[in-house]
Symmetry: C2
Subunit: 453 residues, 2 copies
């Protein structure tokens, strides 16, 4: 019988990341300066990121070596196992084989350390002493806290207020790894104080938290900012997921018909899918689908435009699908993936028809997540529940079409620190929220005035 | 370079559990009936456990086959990886090599499912429809909730009140797996109601929760009780840990000088160590050491006597090191491992000089745990912090003696659902509690009146 999981030895870990910029049929439009709207060069980014990371951001080299020091840390939990979800398959009773990469085996419980480790390493190499970042549900903040500690950097995390309050364990985890975690908007930055004065009841947003983290980085000594998603270098570092999955599937002679990931900023989706997009560009038949929340439908409803990454318009303008930089999902949404935009790379792939996207209601995602936990054991993060809902949906389609399908998806993390969301779901405190059409119209109108790529 | 971790393929998983009863130089004294003080036979245990499990409890067969249905579930996370703790070694700067079994990779985050899965399976086979159990910190209750769900059994968990209140995520996790979790003492049992009436402020104890779970099991239809530690069959099922570790160490040509585990009821310590005890009985040089909290010093201070497993004296009398069945650790103790007794097998091994034991203060255990998290990444469960403190201590000894040592220990689980304990530690709310000598004297006196094995 085919094994339940495919493991790789330490020495089988991929030694290079894959850079899709080398293979894109149409290059990305350049980021624009927030004030002048002129293309930004590496030097414009230098106050925010160290130059060795900026080089990765703009590189068009196809393969980039993973430094030994990074590999050493990766090996703490990588290569991550590839699983066959036999029990979930039985439950679905559809003609599908389901494989998943279990990124929940990392110490932080998600895929986020894949990017946090190299970022901490490169900042350290560049002489930086302190990192700032933002976090929504807390996965990224936890990962960067751990990575900073491992390379001897200080770390401060601005955590979106609503999550900070709903998920106290996340702060505790970051503290355990020696980092500082503040509720955002905070009193520590000008933009934070300004928003608190203007909107004392704001639940916060990733856009606000990013503004705070960047302000802190550019106004503090020896400090840089680290972003957990969206940018090219983040997706680059995450490709280790898809590269490992390809090795593992090859071992058992399988190639997927469908590759799936959940989509917030695009880091885990990009991580699993970009090596398969490469195959697709080269002519291989494979469907690649991102799953997002219907209350933050960036890919399925957001226009493609230049937009800021943050509320305070401190970041460059990025060419991406966006709901507008002031978009804040309804507080009732408990599933994470709340970012208003999505990676330019993912946006470009959608425009080029190389990937597709589907949106799911939160009740369907938690329903899928609970079914998963009760059959496969592992409790998925609320974010991960979105891709599980997409798998359920894909299985239903396969059954209707009477077509056999092999699905590969990225199980981006476990939900053991997010159990309050499950508690809300199981006790009936989540509602079947539907984004009001007037809100969509407001978004479309707001983005209409942004420059077009 | 030696790899950071040694993984086994699915098909390398051990197919049998190891039963130390076949090799004990002196057999265990039999359990006694709680009322008559006569040895109990299998039939006396039948209202509590199904007969197929009772057979394992009393078996003297050296190797017991693991059923295919159990192996299938084990393979969800087993074989668990064996790690080399290189970063922690660097921190200690002592002549030690440290290997650990990472049992935190299970869906429940600890070693407990190793026993929960076969228990749910055997109960199901025996026609049982519902399981009851108790849980302290929550590791066992979580594991049995998951296992029950996997085999279609109902499950109710009585959780020690102080933990129920300190660790709300544990209840949420059990609920997510479809189980019911009640604060103990509860209103659901006679003994629970009685204790609530008599001691309205009791923090609860494992002894009380066990009484409740057993009362529920013996007074409900198609229901049996499942115990997560102490008994022979539990340690038997846990030997999969040590058996895998032996295979993994053999692959890299290493044999440990010291094998360590933390000790509550003895399940994870027994799990890692019994296969090595077998080697030791056969003449191999290996030191085997259990680590326990100094506020519940069963092995290091508790006399060896017959004692009840629970407060209400419903269980048979077991021959074990015990602090008395009414012993309740001070509520300030945050580290788990609160049981008043310990497995008869572990007690017997200590009597025979085949193992040793050391006790650690809670501040030292959390100090070790935080150092571990900040170097190795994975955040250990508070219980696991005890064995890490023992490793720190052993490394110090090795340094003092100028002697090279290979240490193997069981990293019994992660602490991601126990972060409130870390929070209490990091914010200075834990005290360096020392068990008062008068309490020790009270214990010695209380146990003096129990029958002697």
């Amino acid at each position: 019988m085919e094994p339940l999981k495919v493991v790789l030895e330490d020495n089988e870990i991929p030694r290079q990341w894959y850079n899709i910029l080398a293979d894109l049929p149409e290059p990305l439009s350049p980021p624009l300066h927030p004030a002048t709207h002129q293309p930004v060069g590496p030097e414009d980014l230098a106050p925010i990121f160290p130059m060795n990371i900026i080089e990765h951001e703009v590189s068009s080299q196809r393969w980039i070596d993973i430094p030994e020091e990074v590999l050493e840390k990766y090996l703490i939990w990588r290569p991550s196992p590839l699983y066959r979800a036999r029990n979930f398959e039985k439950l679905l009773d559809a003609p599908v084989k389901i494989y998943y990469k279990n990124e929940g085996v990392s110490p932080a419980g998600s895929h986020k350390p894949n990017a946090a480790i190299p970022m901490a390493y490169y900042n350290k190499q560049f002489g930086i002493k302190r990192l700032t970042t933002e976090t929504g549900a807390g996965q990224w903040g936890s990962a960067l806290s751990m990575a900073s500690q491992m390379f001897g950097l200080e770390c401060r995390v601005y955590m979106v207020k609503v999550s900070f309050e709903q998920k106290p364990y996340r702060r505790m985890l970051m503290n355990t790894w020696g980092a500082e975690c503040l509720s955002s908007p905070s009193e520590m930055t000008q933009i934070g104080r300004q928003i608190r004065a203007e909107y004392p009841d704001t639940p916060g947003s990733l856009g606000i938290a990013i503004s705070e983290a960047i302000e802190d980085a550019v106004t503090s000594e020896n400090t840089r900012y680290a972003l957990g998603s969206v940018l090219n270098h983040v997706l680059l570092y995450q490709t280790i997921i898809g590269l490992e999955a390809q090795k593992q599937l090859e071992k058992i002679g399988v190639y997927p018909d469908v590759v799936m990931g959940c989509c917030g900023g695009g880091s885990n989706f990009g991580g699993i899918s970009l090596p398969f997009v490469r195959d697709k560009i080269a002519g291989k038949q494979v469907e690649i689908i991102g799953a997002e929340p219907s209350s933050c439908p960036t890919l399925t409803r957001g226009p493609f435009a230049y937009d800021f990454g943050d509320l305070a318009k401190m970041t460059p303008l990025l060419p991406m699908h966006t709901l507008g930089h002031d978009y804040v999902p309804a507080p009732i949404h408990a599933g994470g993936l709340r970012y208003h935009g999505i990676a330019p790379i993912v946006s470009q792939l959608l425009r080029l028809g190389l990937i597709g996207a589907r949106a799911f209601h939160q009740l369907d995602t938690f329903d899928a997540g609970v079914k998963w936990a009760r059959s496969e054991g592992f409790v998925p993060a609320p974010e991960t529940c979105h891709v599980i809902a997409a798998v359920v949906d894909e299985a239903r389609r396969a059954k209707e079409e009477g077509k056999e399908k092999v699905i590969l998806f990225n199980w981006s993390g476990h939900g053991l620190i997010d159990l309050t969301s499950y508690d809300a779901y199981l006790s009936g405190n989540l509602v079947p929220y539907e984004l009001p059409e007037e809100e969509i119209q407001r978004v479309l109108k707001a983005v209409e005035n942004m420059p077009k790529p």
